[in-house]
Symmetry: C2
Subunit: 125 residues, 2 copies
């Protein structure tokens, strides 16, 4: 049973970096990736299957993930994903980028208004 409801679309573009992140320490199949992201986020994020599988396929096509069919101990077939060398490189890049850019957005929304050089032409009131 997935968490509660669907989170708003405020976070477009973050699915890739989250997938890469949870695959850093372990190989997982799609369903496990979704559960892991939900667990790590404290049940705040829900991964829709209609987003997850297209993401896994395009990342595999881009060479960031490698996929392999396996059977786990309960006898169920599942497609396990692991990071390739390219995927590890992209993981590092994207995590660093997320930190930088999410920090920038936070400064904007919390008004780090260093009104650098109060410029009368730009606004009033």
């Amino acid at each position: 049973m997935p968490p509660t409801s669907s989170p708003p679309e405020l976070l477009q573009g973050t699915l890739d970096v989250m997938i890469l992140s949870v695959l850093q320490s372990q190989s997982l199949h799609g369903y496990g990736i979704a559960r892991q992201i939900e667990a790590r986020s404290g049940r705040l994020l829900t991964i829709e299957e209609g987003s997850l599988y297209p993401a896994l396929h395009r990342m595999t096509k881009r060479g960031e993930l490698a996929a392999e069919w396996r059977t786990n101990d309960t006898g169920r077939r599942a497609r396990f994903y692991r990071l390739t060398t390219d995927g590890k490189r992209r993981l590092a890049e994207q995590v660093s980028l997320w930190d930088t850019l999410s920090g920038a957005v936070s400064r904007v929304v919390h008004g780090s208004s260093r009104q650098a050089a109060p410029d009368a032409r730009l606004g009033w009131e």
Copy 2:
């Protein structure tokens, strides 16, 4: 001259909350909004005009912004935007949501791996 280059599409969905934020303390026109976001972000974020104007129009249509033509002190006509009551409410909602969700993503990518209950069925390796 806009900053350097176009930032990746990691932050889709954050434009609205940034626009609302910079309009909290002042009325601005489109160009001024873009400059303000760039300044507050420390020149990390670039707002493309093809994203900005559609966003301003749809937010006005949704009733979050009110627009008014004015002439500033240099004699140039410009369309100034301010928050409506609805816009102020949405600003508060969206900022709080951004803080919550960006925090969740950060926990995911930095592996707050409280492997809650190590579940052999979900992965191996």
